[in-house]
C-alpha cells in the first residue's frame, strides 16, 4: 500500500510538472502545443544518451534540459508566424519526428530496444525529488502567472495584434515562454528516466500528449491548482487501471483502451460545458478609487 502511494505521488508530481509547463504555454499564452511529450522525451533521452555513452548523470540532465528549450525554439521560430492551428500540427509532427528518430538511430540511446539508465533504487527519494521539482516549477510558474509578464501573456492569448500595437513583439514573448516551459518538461523527463530506469521510444507516443492535455483541460488550463488537480485525477485512473482490470475480470488491454476513450469523452464534455475547467482563472481585483 505504501509502495502504491509513493508510486502514485511520484507519478502525479512528474506529470503535474508537464501540466504546469502546458499551463504556461496554453493557459497563459494561448500556444496550442500538441507536442508536449517532445520536451519530456528530450529530457529523458538526455539521461539515456549519457548512460549509453558513459557520461555522468548530471551531464545527462544538463543535455536533456538544455536541449529541450533549444529544440522548442527551433520548432517555434518557423511556426511563430503561423496561426495557432498550424502551431498545433507543427508541434505534433515534431514530437513524432523525434520519437521516430530515437527509434531508428540506435547510436543515441539504443533505438527500438531503448536504454537502461541509473534507476533511483530508493523510491522515497524518487518521490521527494519529484515533489521538489514540482514545488520549484509551481513557484516559478506562479511568480510568472501573477506578474506583469503573466498579464501580458494573457493579452497575447486573447489578441496578439493588440499586444503588437502596444509595442510588444509577440514572437519574442512566445519564445521566452517556450524556452522556460520546455526546460520544465525537460527536467521532468530527466527525472522520469531515472525513476523508471530506462528510456524507450514507446514511452513517448502521441498518446502521452493527449493524456497531459486531458488533465490540463479537465482541471483548468489557467491555474496551477487546476492543472495539479486534473493530473491527479487522470493519473490515478491510469495507475488504477490494472486494479480495475483484476477486479472486473476484463482484459487489461481493454480497460486501458476504455480509459483513453473515457479521456476523450471528458475532453469533449469539458470543452462543451465547462471550457475553463474545474478551477477557473480567478479575477484579479484592483482598487480603482484611491490610495
Amino acid at each position: 500500500m505504501t509502495d502504491f502511494i509513493i508510486f502514485s505521488v511520484t507519478t502525479i508530481a512528474i506529470w503535474s510538472v508537464l501540466g504546469i509547463s502546458l499551463h504556461l504555454q496554453f493557459g497563459l499564452t494561448g500556444l496550442v502545443n500538441f507536442g508536449q511529450v517532445l520536451p519530456f522525451a528530450v529530457g529523458a533521452y538526455g539521461a539515456g544518451f549519457a548512460a549509453v555513452h558513459g557520461l555522468p548523470i548530471w551531464a545527462g540532465a544538463l543535455i536533456g534540459c538544455g536541449l529541450a528549450p533549444l529544440i522548442g525554439v527551433l520548432v517555434i521560430l518557423p511556426a511563430g508566424r503561423l496561426t495557432q492551428d498550424y502551431w498545433a500540427l507543427v508541434t505534433l509532427g515534431a514530437g513524432e519526428i523525434f520519437r521516430l528518430a530515437m527509434l531508428n538511430i540506435s547510436g543515441i540511446a539504443g533505438g527500438v530496444e531503448g536504454a537502461s539508465v541509473v534507476r533511483l533504487g530508493d523510491r522515497t527519494l524518487a518521490m521527494v525529488l519529484a515533489l521538489v521539482l514540482l514545488t520549484g516549477t509551481a513557484l516559478f510558474a506562479f511568480r510568472m502567472d501573477r506578474s506583469p509578464l503573466g498579464r501580458l501573456l494573457r493579452v497575447l492569448r486573447e489578441d496578439e495584434t493588440l499586444a503588437a500595437t502596444l509595442g510588444r513583439n509577440p514572437l519574442r514573448f512566445q519564445l521566452v515562454v517556450t524556452a522556460v516551459s520546455w526546460v520544465m518538461a525537460g527536467l521532468a523527463g530527466v527525472l522520469y528516466a531515472h525513476v523508471t530506469g530506462y528510456v524507450s521510444p514507446s514511452s513517448f507516443m502521441v498518446i502521452e500528449t493527449f493524456v497531459i492535455w486531458t488533465a490540463v483541460v479537465l482541471g483548468g488550463p489557467n491555474t496551477i491548482a487546476g492543472v495539479v488537480l486534473g493530473t491527479a485525477v487522470v493519473q490515478l485512473t491510469g495507475v488504477s487501471t490494472r486494479f480495475i482490470a483484476q477486479w472486473s475480470h476484463l482484459p487489461s488491454e481493454l480497460v486501458a483502451n476504455l480509459r483513453l476513450a473515457a479521456f476523450g469523452a471528458v475532453l469533449v464534455l469539458v470543452f462543451l460545458f465547462r471550457p475553463q475547467g474545474v478551477i477557473p482563472e480567478p479575477k484579479r481585483r484592483y482598487n480603482a478609487d484611491s490610495r
Binding site: 511568480r143 499586444a163 500595437t165 522556460v180 481585483r285 484592483y286
Partner: protein
Amino acid sequence: MLIAADISVAFGGFQALRSVSVQAAPGSIVGLVGPNGSGKSTLLDVIAGLRQPDGGKVQLDGATVPLGRPDVVAGFGIGRAFQVPRLARRLTVFQNVMVGARGQSGEKLSDLFLRPGRVARREREVEAAARDILRRLDLSHKANDYASDLSGGQQKLLSMGILLMAHPRVLLLDEPAAGVNPVLIERQIRFLRELRDEGRIIVLVEHNMEMVANVCDHIFVLDAGEVIAAGTPMQIRADARVMRSYLGQPA
C-alpha cells in the same frame, strides 16, 4: 508632423489605396472621412505597421517610421485604436489599461526573479496611472469588470484608455464614436480636445461628417482609395464633389 506619403495598397486585384498622402501637425485633430470601403481603416493599418503597403512611406517628425512592424511603430509613439475594439476580453478593465504602459520591468523574466523591488515599484506606478486614466474616462466604476462585459461605447473608451497609458504622440482613432451613445460622444469630444491641447497628433476616422466638422482642424476626404478633397471643415462643406460622393451613401 506625421506624414504618410504616396501610400498604395492592393488586396489581390482590388486597389484599396491609390497613392494616398495625408499629414497631421502636432496639436491638431485631422479627420479622415469617406464612404464605407473607401480605405480609411486600411490607411490607419499602414501607418500603424499592421499592413505592408505596396508603395509609399511614413514619417514622424522627420524620422522614417518602419513599415509592417507594429511593435516597432508603437515605439515611435504611434498608437492605434480599432474600429472593432481590440481588448483582452477575459481580463478586467483595470488590467487592460495597465497593459498599455510601456517599459514594464516585470515583463522581463530576469527582473522578475532578480529585481523584485524594482518590479513592485514600477507596478505601483502603473497602477496609479491606470487609476488616473480610468477616472479621466469616467470608467472607474467598471474597473473590476471583465472587458467583455462592457457596452460597445465603453469598450471604445477603454481602448482609448489603453492607448493613453503609453503617452503616445500620435493617436490613430478608428470610428471612436460609432455605436456610442450621445452622452459618451460628448465626453469623447471633450477628451479629444484636451489631448489636442496637450500637443498630440490625432487622426480621427469618422463616418459622420457632422461630428468631424465639429472637432477637426483639417479634413481629408477619401473615396475609392483616393484623396478627393482636403481642407478645413468649412472648405470641405463647400466642396461639391465631396457632397456628391456622399449622395446615395447615407451614413
